[in-house]
């Protein structure tokens, strides 16, 4: 067990080195939500000048922060995993690892370690920038922070396992399009970049099948005033249902991951 953890930590360090040396991944998964938060807070600042928003203490930064935190969870877990595992399968990295006595679990521990560290660092950066660059008031009681912790953990867990499973749907060449297109659509209909209440009901219902909508809703419950719960689909934050949906997706992801993972390219065994 100690050996397994130590090998998993070795893999984590290696994964982190590769992640941060790949400028594209740093930009498009790690810095992207941070950049969008800055952009949206600036572009839409004037729209939050009205008396209602001002009274509620919600400016553009505070309004978009939950969405960006949610997008960050999705990008650093799901997108990073789907892209990296697909290309590792194609370029022979997985085959090379399989030729060594490495316990397979060590590989997955390395991925989990990578996602945990990058997503936490990203969350910290997002919160710091929201707080210090845009003056967003962060929760002052323990409750919302606790909610943040479990939504974040469940979201990252599900994103990681689903991302690894999803990697089997594409090759290194196609996976970029296979991942980024659907993710972009999902982010829009899940209310990450728009106010969820502005999205037509039927699209909201489609979005409700997927975990991102629930992550975003949970994050809004953390960062927005309670009065905003009225504009949710159910008119409430629904923490219980959120926990249930995210937990189900995490389990589904784990099962899919175990059942579909392949070390070799299709047609080579």
């Amino acid at each position: 067990m100690t050996r397994l953890l130590s090998l998993g930590w070795d893999r984590t360090l290696l994964e982190l080195k590769m992640y941060f040396r790949e400028k594209e991944s740093v930009f498009f998964s790690f810095l992207f939500p941070i950049m969008l938060l800055a952009l949206f807070s600036t572009i839409f600042a004037a729209q939050f000048d009205g008396p209602a928003m001002t009274a509620a203490g919600v400016d553009a930064g505070r309004f978009f922060l939950p969405g960006m935190v949610s997008a960050g969870v999705l990008l650093t877990s799901f997108q990073t995993m789907a892209l990296s595992v697909a290309s590792e399968r194609d370029d022979g990295t997985l085959k090379r690892l399989r030729s060594t006595p490495m316990p397979p679990v060590a590989y997955f521990l390395g991925k989990v370690g990578l996602v945990a560290i990058t997503s936490l660092a990203q969350l910290a950066l997002l919160l710091a920038i929201a707080r210090f660059a845009y003056g967003v008031a962060l929760p002052s009681s323990a409750g919302p922070w606790l909610t943040l912790a479990w939504i974040f953990a469940l979201g990252v867990l599900g994103g990681t396992t689903l991302g690894i499973a999803y990697s089997s749907l594409g090759t290194a060449r196609s996976i970029g399009a296979v991942v980024i297109g659907p993710l972009l659509v999902l982010q829009f209909i899940s209310g990450v970049y728009l106010a969820f209440s502005d999205i037509p009901t039927w699209l909201q219902q489609i979005a409700s099948v997927f975990p991102l909508k629930w992550i975003a809703q949970g994050m809004r419950s953390v960062f927005l005033p309670d009065s905003f719960a009225a504009s949710e689909m159910a008119g409430a934050w629904e923490p219980g249902r959120t926990a249930l949906v995210l937990a189900v997706w995490a389990v589904v992801g784990l099962v899919l991951c175990v059942r579909t993972f392949r070390w070799f390219k299709r047609g080579t065994t």
């Binding site: 290696l14 370029d91 022979g92 085959k95 090379r96 006595p101």
Partner: protein, 286 residues
């Protein structure tokens, strides 16, 4: 001494094709064994079954006493595999990847020692993306040997090497063989097989069609030698099974140095090509 690799009746079928067709093979411990054969003959399929990467349809396979299809980490600990190409390392340095790879094994070689043995000292801390093809291939070999394997698979290890790099590589393989590592080599270079291998096997149509030492393969040593020389400004050529007698006779007749004398036997390449063309019957092409 027990066999490092024992294969009996190995068969692998892809749709209508019998890629490997009842192949028998035995490789002794400590031997350097070369597998030759044109592309599509079943060479890579066979080796990947031995490496545990591919499943088989029938036949018995034992590699270091275990069935590769079910062998676990303890077996992999004793096996080294140099794949035809290994990507995905561009962002790391040779030392970084060797260090994490070494930790996976029970009794690894020292990383610095491995780096030195493949001649990558100058590039040990450089990004792998910047390595030349030959340097990358040497890194592949380093990854294959860092676990101190008892059995090393080398799949076309010197493709794309310049002549000097190839010679250096051969020296490395010889030193591994000298330490007692069993080596299974596939290659398209006949001179490489001749230089390194104790025995060579030729695979055609999924079967072994010839198996012997490089000098004796396909009855090579028994074949006639060709003697050529110059006499009175004309070039003479004679095929003979007794070249020594002919040269002695020439020496006696011509007195002193024989002008432009050569004695050649069919090269391994000639023998190999003759084997390949003899076995490529029309129905195999249809």
């Amino acid at each position: 001494m027990t066999a490092a690799v024992h294969v009996h009746g190995l068969t692998k079928i892809y749709g209508p094709t019998r890629a490997v067709d009842g192949l028998d093979l035995q490789i002794e411990t400590g031997e350097v064994f070369a597998l030759l054969g044109p592309n599509g003959a079943g060479k890579t399929t066979t080796v990947e079954i031995l490496e545990g990467f591919r499943s088989r349809d029938s036949g018995q396979v034992s590699v270091l006493g275990s069935d590769p299809a079910t062998a676990g980490a303890a077996w992999r600990d004793r096996i080294g595999i140099v794949l035809q190409s290994s990507g995905g390392l561009d962002l790391l340095t040779p030392r970084e990847i060797l260090r994490t790879t070494a930790r996976l094994y029970e009794r690894p070689r020292a990383v610095d020692e491995v780096i030195a043995s493949v001649g990558l000292q100058q590039k040990a801390d450089a990004r792998i993306a910047g390595l030349s093809g030959g340097q990358r291939r040497r890194l592949d070999v380093a990854l294959g040997i860092v676990g101190r394997p008892d059995l090393l698979f080398l799949d076309e290890p010197t493709t794309g090497f310049d002549p000097q790099a190839r010679r250096d590589f051969w020296t490395l393989i010889e030193s591994l063989a000298h330490e007692g590592t069993t080596i299974v080599l596939t290659t398209h270079y006949l001179d490489e097989a001749e230089h390194l291998a104790d025995r060579v096997a030729v695979i055609l149509g999924g079967r072994i069609v010839a198996l012997d030492t490089p000098t004796a393969l396909g009855g090579r040593s028994a074949q006639e030698a060709t003697v050529t020389w110059e006499e009175a400004g004309a070039r003479h050529t004679e095929k003979t099974s007794a070249p020594t007698a002919l040269v002695t006779a020439l020496h006696a007749r011509l007195g002193g140095e024989i002008s432009a004398l050569t004695v050649t036997r069919p090269s391994l390449e000639d023998t190999y090509l003759a084997l390949v063309s003899a076995h490529s019957t029309p129905e195999q092409h249809s």
